[in-house]
């Protein structure tokens, strides 16, 4: 218990330090935040364009899919703000900077996550929240206290599931020698699939996105539960389980990688 409390305390300290470092470069923040927002906004524009031609996709309306996309976008923002450093693991290893992390009496995982604070992540969090709020006005849901509590729990689980997935992808850096980690890019790109109902993708992809790289549990399944989708809504209830499994697997993989790490070039 004390270890967890200490870890959280350390995380907050490192986070504040990283935040201050980033905010020193005002011009960079002013460029990066709107730019990243623009990229996310394009996703909503795409939905708008597609739904000018169709009333529904696989039984989902535009407002419902806006929420699905918003989940992808918001969780990307959250992981960006709180764990941007996981993109840098291969780079740190390659340039020997990872060794410096290992010499400190602090969890290497924590340090890696906070190598950088992704301020640009606040943009999609804000935009996504606004888009969800606006979309919910068009969707009838019976908001009981139980449903609200579950929705919040599912939201947090989705964010953790994403963090776990990205962290596991990042940890593969321990098995790769190059400064760029192709795995993390490919895994990140595969999140695009989860912007739409997984049923449109056929069985193989559906399976992959549910059981292998669980992007389905970052957006589609939890949102399906909140909207009371009869066919797949119940799967959404497994999101907390998937979150724990994903993060647990990622932490285990990271530890395994750390164990076999033999300094730059190893």
């Amino acid at each position: 218990m004390r270890r967890i409390a200490r870890a959280i305390d350390l995380y907050c300290t490192l986070f504040r330090a990283g935040l201050r470092a980033k905010l020193n470069y005002r011009a960079d923040v002013l460029v990066m935040v709107p730019s990243f927002l623009l990229i996310q906004a394009i996703g909503y524009v795409f939905l708008w364009v597609v739904f000018r031609q169709l009333p529904t996709i696989a039984g989902w309306s535009m407002h419902e899919l806006v929420c699905v996309y918003a989940m992808i976008s918001i969780t990307e923002g959250i992981v960006g703000v709180f764990g941007e450093g996981l993109w840098a693991l291969s780079w740190l290893k390659f340039h020997g900077a990872f060794d410096a992390l290992l010499m400190r009496p602090v969890s290497p995982l924590l340090q890696v996550l906070l190598t950088s604070v992704g301020l640009h992540g606040f943009g999609p969090i804000l935009l996504g929240s606004v888009m969800i709020a606006r979309s919910l006005e068009h969707i009838t849901i019976d908001w009981t206290p139980g449903r609200i509590a579950m929705a919040v729990a599912l939201f947090l689980s989705a964010a953790i599931a994403r963090l776990g997935t990205m962290l596991a992808a990042s940890a593969t850096a321990f098995w790769i020698e190059t400064p760029f980690n192709p795995t993390i890019n490919i895994v990140h790109s595969s999140s695009y699939f989860a912007r739409f109902p997984l049923t449109i993708y056929g069985q193989a992809l559906n399976f992959a996105l549910t059981f292998l790289v669980p992007w389905g549990f970052v957006s589609y399944y939890p949102v399906a539960w909140v909207f009371g989708k009869a066919d797949v809504g119940w799967i959404g209830l497994f999101t907390p389980l998937v979150a724990v499994a994903a993060f647990g697997f990622a932490a285990w993989l990271f530890r395994r990688g750390l164990a076999r790490y033999e300094s730059a070039g190893g």
Binding site: F36, F193, I200
Partner: protein, 266 residues
């Protein structure tokens, strides 16, 4: 300053260098293939049960997607970052000392890289087209030839856009942010997101005046035979006009930026 031999030598050296550094490019290509695959399924849903959408048949839309993939692969994110990096890491100081025009030299490098990027992307697209039962073939020989010219002009226009955007790196160290903003705007107005006729009226009108359509929409429409010969020639003339326009705008902006660098002592 403008003897072709120097630039041919630069291009040849760049070609060989890029050929030796294929890995990062393959990784980007893999990520883009993910994006393409997810879009493919969405459009498939849109086109299912209908003869066509806004004058496009399903085979034409599939071809549109494959060619968009090819066009996006050329002068991609990585090439863009490499151009910004020269400004950000200061190697532009050495570049400016060389007996080469800075802008033309960068363009030469881009063209040399584009040959490799284009060849790989086209190979993937041809295979994908064959696998989908929609072989990549132009409407007829004339349109095919015009399309090749148009695609080449598209690369020239894309260079102009990327180069001008990259000049912002004289103000901010955030090359990523600049790239994201440029990519978002280009994606929308080039027709990468959706064929321009599918955009809402006012957006489509705006797009028809901007240079971005020359990057993807124009060459693909020519390839598909959606533009007749007269329309194709008009479109190519528009591309040439914008190609020159952007080239000289880039020169103007570039010289302003370079003077700033000199005046402020680097």
């Amino acid at each position: 300053m403008y003897s072709p031999a120097k630039y041919i030598a630069l291009g040849s050296a760049t070609f060989q260098q890029r050929l030796a550094q294929r890995r990062v490019f393959y990784m980007t290509l893999a990520g883009q293939m993910m994006g393409l695959l997810s879009l493919y399924f969405v459009w498939k849903v849109l086109f299912s049960g209908r003869g066509g959408v806004m004058g496009f048949s399903w085979p034409q839309m599939q071809t549109y997607l494959l060619l968009t993939f090819c066009a996006n692969a050329v002068l991609g994110f990585h090439s863009e970052l490499m151009m910004s990096a020269r400004i950000l890491d200061g190697s532009i100081a050495i570049d400016l000392l060389k007996p080469l025009d800075y802008q033309t030299a960068r363009f030469t490098e881009i063209v040399a890289t584009a040959v490799i990027e284009g060849a790989c992307a086209v190979a993937v697209a041809v295979l994908a087209g064959w696998a989908l039962g929609c072989p990549l073939a132009p409407a007829d020989l004339a349109h095919g030839l015009f399309a090749i010219v148009s695609f080449a002009l598209g690369v020239w226009i894309k260079f102009g856009v990327v180069y001008i955007a990259g000049l912002a790196c004289f103000w901010t160290t955030n090359g990523w942010g600049i790239s994201w903003a440029q990519m978002a705007i280009s994606q929308l107005f080039s027709g990468a997101l959706a064929p321009l006729p599918l955009l809402p009226g006012w957006l489509a009108t705006l797009a028809s005046w901007l240079p971005f359509q020359g990057m993807i929409y124009t060459p693909v429409m020519i390839f598909l035979g959606q533009f007749d010969v007269a329309a194709s020639l008009r479109a190519i003339a528009f591309q040439i006009a914008w190609g020159f326009g952007l080239w000289f705008l880039a020169r103007a902006c570039g010289s302003v930026m370079m003077r700033r660098v000199t005046i402020h002592g680097g």
